[in-house]
């Protein structure tokens, strides 16, 4: 356990305290208690900058499940540090903003901040884990906490829908990521990312390489909302705006990009990686920006804009992987794409974060986000308008903001593709810059819509719910900081070069930078009359043209049949699944426990019998059996007699008591076979369960007689015979087959040595197999809660009625 581990876990620890603070200090906004944490963490991470920029990395190992190679290894390098700074930095600003955005009287603040802290911790865990299993656990935690945050206003139907959709899609991707991680483990025998990278040759030569690649890409694409999995992101906008600013623009959706960057050294050697990522990224870029133009909701525009920008970063990582294929570094033109990806990642977090906050302010102060109702807000909200201009122009890629610089580098990267002398890129490669260029035009158009339709034009006070005015100062602080960063990074991009971008590049493409080589990033503001500059001029010209004539051509969006959209496909699939499961439920769930038992027993019987015979596992070996003594014989007779009594009993009471006799006899068997622990447990269990049974049956309704035409029921007899035969055969076979040495010697020898206990059973329960016991008592607790819920909640419902 090191400080770094504590840093990763600290949001989880604070999450425990937040509800108490919320109760205790009703008057103070709970956000104030949460705010110091990300700020402290941000300062903590800045300490790493000097070391990391010199090329140092830090590894703190902690054993978790060492026998499976799963450890909680926290690892700080350029890439992890960049993301940690984003998570804590933007986190601080978002929490500050949320204090003014969320009302402390109307909202359930404690759950909001608990979810947000859970998210922050899991996100830090994702980017600082060296162990893939550890990364995966945190990865799924981000999906979970994002589900909770999207569904924060859980009474709204749309929130439920959006939360469920994001959960289904991202968890689906998460599971395939898990499969990919397992494949990587099969290939290399380790979960550690650093060790996998050092074993690249093994991975690339394996026949599992492509399956692992595809599975991991699925995980990354679903998380980062790439086409066709992007459909969850617009619906995730049902979350409160601070959440959208944080999760769905700055951090969580970038986890997919993080994963690709992190695993680039492993996979980038493959052409599949290059093609799939670049092409999917570009399609997403185009489709996202094209769809953003038709949105009426400000947050909808930003959602699709995020999708398209993520696509852009993706495609840059894909194109950048071409750098791996060329050994000469000095004039390596493909690393530009990777640099652009890293640079744009930072820029996107700043301008999109501020734009989301601007939209939140507009929503908060006017009561609507619909651009058809908004307009002319410029004179009411001058500060917000300025920030919208800065953020919007940066998003559109206009000078002098940081978005301009990264967009120019993006164009450079795409133009370089056409110079590639592999994969016959000279001919088809031209499609890449063209798609990028068209996507950028639409990006320009929606940025302009966002800024000008909201803040200029006709002011329509009758359509607004509130009289607009400038937001309170507290709400403005965070977006102002972000907007100033947009300007600062625009004028002085070299601030970031050596401290963040270069170390990050070193993590993404270590093979290129190893052995004393250095990669120097130079982001220049003026780069001469290059093709990129003319492309930008083209974007501006066509963008203005399209923006002016928006009315005329926007009809093409309605031409697209709504029944063919991906969203429709998703809804159709969900409905189909619901219908199918209802049908299955109706046929299986008759409401009679007899029927359930029939199904369960038949299934068990067939399953075991088929396995026994197909595996040829059936064996009778009477060598090891002991002769049956008098006591055993008597007990067996008693047991059979008690069982028959249970079956023939007329009243429930007799049945329960004779069933209890079976149990007590069993415990006597344990006594005979010298298992005092089991006998004791069985005795007490029998006592408690008999009284519980009596209690239950006392309250049960009268036995509902089913109309039975014949007295003798053949199916029941068959099932009874089946189960009886199966269990007997299984018992005999299990006793006759000994494949391995008995493990009991180990326990006999070690229980005193290692655990200091003389009772082996107890030592196994609490020490050697303590995990089992821990999960068993967890299951017990869940069962108790379920029973409590079923009975108690039904009662209170009845009382209410």
């Amino acid at each position: 356990m090191s400080w770094l581990h504590l840093v990763i876990l600290s949001p989880f620890l604070l999450a425990f305290v937040v509800p108490l603070l919320y109760r205790k200090f009703q008057r103070i906004h709970t956000g104030w208690f949460v705010l110091p944490l990300p700020l402290v963490l941000f300062i903590y991470f800045t300490q790493y900058i000097s070391g990391v920029s010199k090329g140092e990395t830090y590894l703190h190992s902690m054993k978790w499940i060492p026998s499976l190679g799963i450890n909680f290894d926290a690892y700080v390098d350029g890439l992890g540090l960049l993301f940690s700074l984003l998570i804590t930095g933007i986190g601080t600003l978002v929490i500050l903003y949320s204090i003014y955005y969320l009302s402390k009287t109307k909202e359930a603040l404690h759950s909001f901040y608990v979810y947000l802290l859970l998210f922050m911790g899991s996100m830090l865990g994702v980017v600082l884990s060296d162990n893939l299993m550890n990364l995966y656990s945190f990865w799924e935690l981000t999906s979970l906490s994002s589900f909770l945050l999207i569904g924060y206003w859980y009474k709204r139907e749309k929130s439920q829908y959006g939360a469920l959709k994001s959960m289904l899609i991202t968890v689906f991707g998460g599971l395939s990521l898990l499969a990919g991680i397992v494949l990587l483990y099969v290939m290399t025998g380790t979960f550690s990312i650093r060790e996998i990278i050092s074993n690249v040759d093994v991975v690339t030569s394996s026949h599992l390489f492509i399956p692992a690649l595809v599975l991991i890409l699925l995980g990354a694409f679903t998380k980062s909302a790439q086409f066709p999995f992007h459909i969850w992101l617009p619906d995730a906008m049902e979350a409160p705006t601070p959440v959208s600013a944080y999760l769905h623009s700055a951090t969580m959706v970038k986890a997919g990009i993080y994963l690709l960057a992190r695993l680039s050294p492993v996979f980038a050697i493959s052409a599949t990686w290059f093609f799939v990522i670049s092409i999917v990224g570009l399609i997403t870029l185009f489709w996202g920006s094209f769809s953003a133009v038709k949105q009426q909701d400000l947050k909808g525009i930003l959602a699709f804009s995020t999708i398209s920008q993520l696509g852009m970063i993706m495609s840059l990582i894909g194109v950048g992987s071409a750098a791996i294929h060329y050994d000469f570094l000095d004039d390596n033109i493909y690393l530009v794409a990777l640099t652009a990806a890293v640079f744009h990642l930072i820029n996107h977090a700043t301008f999109k974060g501020s734009l989301f906050m601007v939209v939140g302010i507009v929503d908060h102060e006017t009561g609507t986000r619909d651009i058809r109702k908004l307009g002319g807000l410029m004179s009411f909200m001058p500060v917000t308008f300025t920030m919208a201009i800065i953020g919007g122009f940066s998003m559109a890629g206009l000078p002098p903001f940081n978005g301009f610089l990264s967009k120019e580098m993006f164009f450079t990267g795409m133009v370089n593709v056409t110079k590639m002398d592999m994969y016959s890129m000279q001919t088809w490669g031209i499609l890449l810059p063209i798609t990028a260029w068209v996507g950028s035009i639409f990006t320009f158009v929606y940025s302009m819509i966002l800024v000008f339709k909201t803040f200029t034009g006709k002011y329509q006070p009758e359509k607004l719910e509130k009289k607009p005015h400038e937001a309170p100062v507290g709400m403005l602080i965070s977006p102002v900081i972000l907007a100033s960063l947009v300007v600062i990074f625009g004028f002085a991009p070299n601030l970031l070069e050596s401290i963040l971008i270069e170390p990050t590049m070193a993590s993404i493409a270590p093979s290129l930078l190893a052995e004393g080589k250095e990669y120097q990033v130079h982001i220049k503001f003026w780069h001469g009359f290059t093709p990129e500059l003319f492309m930008t001029l083209g974007v501006i010209t066509f963008g203005i043209l399209l923006f002016m004539t928006l009315q005329k051509w926007s009809k093409i969006y309605t031409r697209f049949p709504s029944s063919l959209t991906l969203n429709n496909g998703y809804n159709y699939g969900i409905k189909g699944m619901e219908k199918g499961s209802t049908r299955i439920m109706k046929t299986l769930m008759t409401g009679f426990i007899r029927d359930y038992l029939l199904i369960i027993f038949t299934f068990i019987g067939i399953l075991i019998l088929v396995t026994l015979f197909s595996q040829n596992a059936f064996a009778i070996d009477l060598k090891d059996t002991v002769s049956i003594g008098v006591y055993e014989a008597i007990l067996a007779v008693v047991m059979v007699a008690a069982t028959i009594t249970t079956l023939l009993a007329k009243s429930r009471l007799t049945a329960i008591i004779s069933l209890g006799v079976v149990g007590y006899t069993l415990s006597l068997f344990f006594v005979l076979f010298r298992a005092p622990d089991l006998a004791l447990t069985q005795l007490v269990i029998e006592t408690v369960s008999v009284s519980l049974f009596l209690l239950c049956f006392y309250y049960l309704p009268e036995f509902r007689k089913r109309k039975v035409r014949v007295k003798f029921q053949l199916p029941n007899l068959l099932v009874a015979l089946l189960v009886g035969t199966t269990v007997t055969l299984l018992g005999i076979s299990a006793n006759s087959t000994k494949l391995f040495e008995s493990i009991s010697h180990y326990f006999i020898e070690n229980s005193y040595e290692k655990a200091g206990g003389e009772n082996m059973v107890n030592v196994i329960l609490v020490d050697f197999r303590g995990f089992d016991t821990l999960f068993e008592i967890t299951v017990l607790c869940i069962a108790a809660l379920a029973i409590y819920g079923m009975i108690r909640l039904r009662l209170t419902k009845e009382e209410e009625e």
Partner: protein
């Protein structure tokens, strides 16, 4: 519906304590002789069930005002915390240790962290059993 059964009630008052003391003995002896958290917990619940049978639920819950859901939850929490505690000593989750101490009155005694975990199990078993029985019993 419940009769006042004097003999049962008087016996119960005495027997319950004997059972509970026996349960505590089982719990602590578990590491060396048959017993342990699970059996100890069950035996305790059996004593409580006996109380419930002899008296009614209201009387018992007045005498022992425990929310058994909280008992179960705190047991689970204790078990998990015992597991997490091993992180402080940089060993894997749920690693136990033991040592011998010379305690006043008791003499040479072995103290093991396992007992804490077992106490968690004990509390969970008591809590869960009693939650189930009480919920079903109260449901009318």
């Amino acid at each position: 519906m419940k009769k006042n059964d004097l003999i049962l009630q008087t016996t119960t008052k005495v027997v319950t304590f004997i059972i509970i003391i026996f349960a505590i003995h089982l719990f602590f002896a578990g590491h060396y002789t048959p017993g342990g958290g699970f059996v100890g917990g069950l035996t305790t619940s059996a004593a409580l069930v006996l109380l419930l049978l002899a008296f009614d639920i209201k009387t018992v819950s007045k005498v022992i005002p425990l929310d058994y859901k909280k008992v179960a939850a705190s047991g689970l929490l204790l078990a998990i915390l015992t597991g997490l505690g091993s992180f402080i000593f940089k060993v894997p989750f749920l690693t136990h240790t033991y040592s011998y101490f010379n305690l006043p009155l008791l003499g040479k005694t072995s103290l093991a962290t396992v007992v804490l975990f077992d106490l968690g199990v004990y509390l969970v078993v008591v809590g869960v059993t009693m939650t189930i029985i009480q919920t079903i019993g109260e449901s009318e």
